[in-house]
Symmetry: C2
Subunit: 543 residues, 2 copies
């Protein structure tokens, strides 16, 4: 017996057509370089996205050809988010925070054919121009400056319009977009999203137990659009006719808060460091901005500290914690309280809200140690593995490695977590950072957080060092606050009531600064190079 259902592919065409037909008046607001606000309607957006698709097709784009973007968040990037895929092209968003050499590597690896760049970022493009070979470079003029010679002007490129454009036949498994992981170790790896995965991910984001933005909400997309589909927001927001606001190149707290107040934003998405800046500005000038009551901030990319969550709550602003990665499109989990948990005491509720949460509807998640699932006891650590229709099962032009995929085909995320009895996962470390001591695991992150609670400690990083008997043991690298002092014995004493005895670091190294990577995270690989063979003679022993 066969189903009688239509064979109807899940493609982005449906989303674009719905936006253009049913929500032509909805606004898209973008901050421009001169700080003015650019406004276009969904009707304009629809025509321009189709005009872009038509122009790319005229320029010779074939199904699966990559069109790179090097842009901040604004209307033209949104047009590319739709215009490229509906022409059967592949949207490859380049991360402008990477080193130019790395961008060049990624462009060449992906074999990008066209580039759409906004003119604020032309100087960045110039830094890797000689190492790449785009067939055409199309410049979005945000500044008002003329287009330099040798480039296409975006407005002229799309000027013929798309009224006569007809969508090519697209299979739902056809590629739609690409994003490279920003691996701190090894070369970046390319993930290729399909129309199907993008539609399913967007719908999953739209469910009430994920983000579930109601129709009347104004949504501020601070997550960079070059960062994993801006968490899927541009797709689902467009499909549902939700008003979208983009910050352009302005990520300072004042610009963000001005935008939130002016457009009466109800939902915004970004990384913790961004929200930390916003929080500080609000605490500095509590009466300056009149924000929409009920404002919710989606936070992901790294863990949101509980203190920040509490501080925002005091201001009537709710943080909603989510977790994911390039390979998961990215929404893997969201930490909403189950209805029954709303009755818990305040401390318990925060303890859950700061966890990474429950898996999204179409995401299967398990936490594995020694080839089996860890018990849901909130303390046994294992690696998060996921699978689902919007999870990557491999990398572009790269053979799948057992380090990245389990023998039965689950993605190994590299995140070490515990699971509680309710099923909430909490990430405690990265797999390469966790310390494997005597068959048990020690969370370097937990140790760091505890150490940074010591009044004399400014920064703390904990790494594994080899040990003849225990395999690995923890070593702590400490930066003291100016004018403060602490001995290894004092630090061990401070830790003792907080962690199991065998977690106490074997050694402490005192230094002036901990090396950090481009995203601001500790460069533990560098620390392992420096101290990975054990503490230098200057270091103290304790424990």
């Amino acid at each position: 017996m066969r189903s009688t259902m239509m064979d109807y592919p899940l493609t982005l065409v449906r989303f674009l057509e719905r936006a253009g037909r049913y929500f032509p008046d909805t606004e898209i607001v973008s901050r421009m370089p001169d700080k003015s606000l650019h406004r276009e309607s969904y009707g304009d957006f629809y025509r321009r996205a189709r005009a872009l698709a038509a122009a790319l097709t005229r320029a010779g784009l074939k199904k699966g050809d990559r069109v790179a973007t090097l842009m901040w968040n604004h209307y033209a990037h949104l047009e590319a988010y739709f215009g490229v895929p509906v022409s059967a092209g592949v949207l490859h968003t380049l991360n402008l925070r990477l080193h130019p050499q790395e961008i060049a590597y990624i462009v060449n690896h992906a074999e990008d054919r066209f580039l759409i760049v906004d003119d604020i970022l032309l100087p960045l493009y110039e830094q890797f121009r000689s190492q790449v070979n785009f067939e055409r470079v199309i410049v979005v003029r945000l500044t008002g400056n003329p287009t330099p010679d040798g480039f296409d002007d975006y407005e002229k490129f799309i000027a013929p319009g798309g009224d006569a454009f007809t969508y090519p036949t697209i299979d739902e498994k056809d590629p739609l977009g690409m994003c490279y992981t920003s691996g701190t170790t090894g070369k970046p790896l390319g993930v290729v999203y399909s129309h199907r995965s993008t539609v399913l991910h967007a719908m999953n984001v739209g469910l009430a137990d994920a983000i579930g933005t109601p129709s009347g909400t104004t949504y501020l997309t601070l997550v960079p659009m070059f960062h994993v589909n801006a968490w899927g927001a541009p797709y689902i927001n467009t499909a549902l006719g939700i008003k979208q606001v983009f910050p352009g190149p302005y990520y300072d707290a004042e610009s963000i808060l001005d935008l939130m107040e002016r457009e009466q934003v109800g939902l915004a998405a970004g990384v913790p460091t961004l929200w930390m800046g916003v929080l500080q500005a609000l605490e500095r000038e509590p009466k300056r901005w009149r924000l929409l009551p009920g404002l919710t901030l989606v936070v992901g990319g790294s863990a949101a500290p509980e203190a920040m969550m509490r501080a925002f709550d005091r201001l009537g602003i709710t943080l909603l914690h989510a977790w994911g990665m390039t390979e998961t499109s990215p929404m893997g989990t969201v930490s909403r309280l189950k209805p029954k948990l709303e009755k818990l005491g305040e401390d318990q509720r925060y303890a859950i809200r700061v966890k990474q949460g429950l898996p999204a509807l179409l995401v299967e998640l398990r936490v594995m140690a020694n080839d089996k699932e860890v018990p849901p006891d909130d303390q046994t650590m294992g690696e998060i593995e996921v699978r689902g229709p919007f999870i990557s099962g491999g990398y572009y032009k790269t053979a799948p490695s057992p380090e990245k995929f389990s023998p039965d085909g689950w993605l190994r995320t590299g995140d070490i977590a515990v699971v509680d009895a309710e099923g909430y996962v909490k990430i405690v470390d990265r797999s390469k950072d966790v310390i494997k001591s005597g068959g048990e695991w020690i969370s370097s992150l937990d140790l760091e957080n505890f150490l940074m609670g010591h009044p004399a400690v400014a920064e703390a990083a904990v790494i594994a060092v080899p040990h003849p008997k225990w395999d690995e043991r923890p070593l702590a690298v400490i930066v003291l606050k100016p004018g403060q002092s602490a001995t290894p014995e004092q630090l061990a004493e401070f830790l003792r009531p907080k962690v199991p005895k065998w977690w106490l670091p074997d050694a402490y190294v005192f230094t002036d600064a901990i090396p950090r990577g481009s995203t601001g995270k500790f460069l533990k690989s560098r620390l392992r190079d420096l101290y990975g063979k054990g503490a230098p003679s200057a270091a103290g022993k304790a424990g």
Copy 2:
């Protein structure tokens, strides 16, 4: 270039597993024949649904085999909703309101192999038992009476449990369920849903611009579970861990309101006649029930009168209008106001809310007349055609007919509608009832509604009669209120300011009662038999 996304099928297994794993404490509440409330947890439900799947597999069920249900809405029906599909069986819900002969026809046409029946409905089964041939009939004992000889007891059937049950391999296009249309003309036609269509439909229902039930809501499913998947509610509610309440066999207003009060229902779904009864009970005893503030009633199946919507609003209860049919899984449209329309005046808002609304995200909808889309002028009529991943493209064991499907593969719904400038569709008639006069269409429904506004008219039905010049002309069949009178001339005078001149009926027939079908709708086919050749001599002419 190919996407790197996993090849992961959309099946109901994901929904069931999520419910069992993450929401084991959520309640499922069912009204029993003795009016007591049966409570089971999602944990119980999960184990029992899997136990049913295991038992069916042991009983020899093969992929695609049909398992019929003849049940009211309760826990066991929900168990079948999941247990049958995850064993790769096909859930065939039988409509207990049909004539026993018709049920027998449907069972035989679908070649149902097993039947799960609740013991309240055993007497109904006995009425067609001799005409069908189930391999096993499994009885859910709700009354406490013993299982009669020759039947399987449901509890004994599933008693071995499903702990060792492993899901068979299911392709997302494999069939999951069946439902027959209750055509007033011709034989019932079978629609076969797939796992894919069911998952996509459920997720679409879960979006905020469709139903979008928030996690903490208690949902009362009054739509019969034998009626088009109970509008998808059991699927999405289970996946999201939403508390579900079922009325069992009790559909009287008092039982419904008692249940709503006791379980503090936030969302309920049912047909207009049901809500009309509830409204009358509330107006009769306004202080009797303490319902949850913000209660929302989803209404579909037929159009909700504006007066009812207004009356509920006065009680603080919101009606949400939706439209669909067996072939559309069923959610086709939902009439939510776009944010900008919230600012309209009260009358304008009601005028939109009583329309059928905007198409669901994954539904493509067009209104066609003379092979092209009608203009969005809110007055040109055409037939609604739809396509999408949960729309049927045919019928079981039936060759597709041009009457049901357009040459380019859209489903022709048989509903005649107009579209306004915002894209909202409003159904004005059924295609077989609309009157085609001189190349233009006249809505029989509109004429009926206007005529029923006349103080002397109790009921009015309008049908087409052949006309040598205009092809068809309207004839009105009128039932006067007791002791009242009206002449054809008076009725025409009453209609004149309300409709175009050429809409005025050519003739009026006065009768004692209008024949109705089993669902309470006018039997226009019978009227056409009686009067379709023109008005009898007793009828009056006017116009």
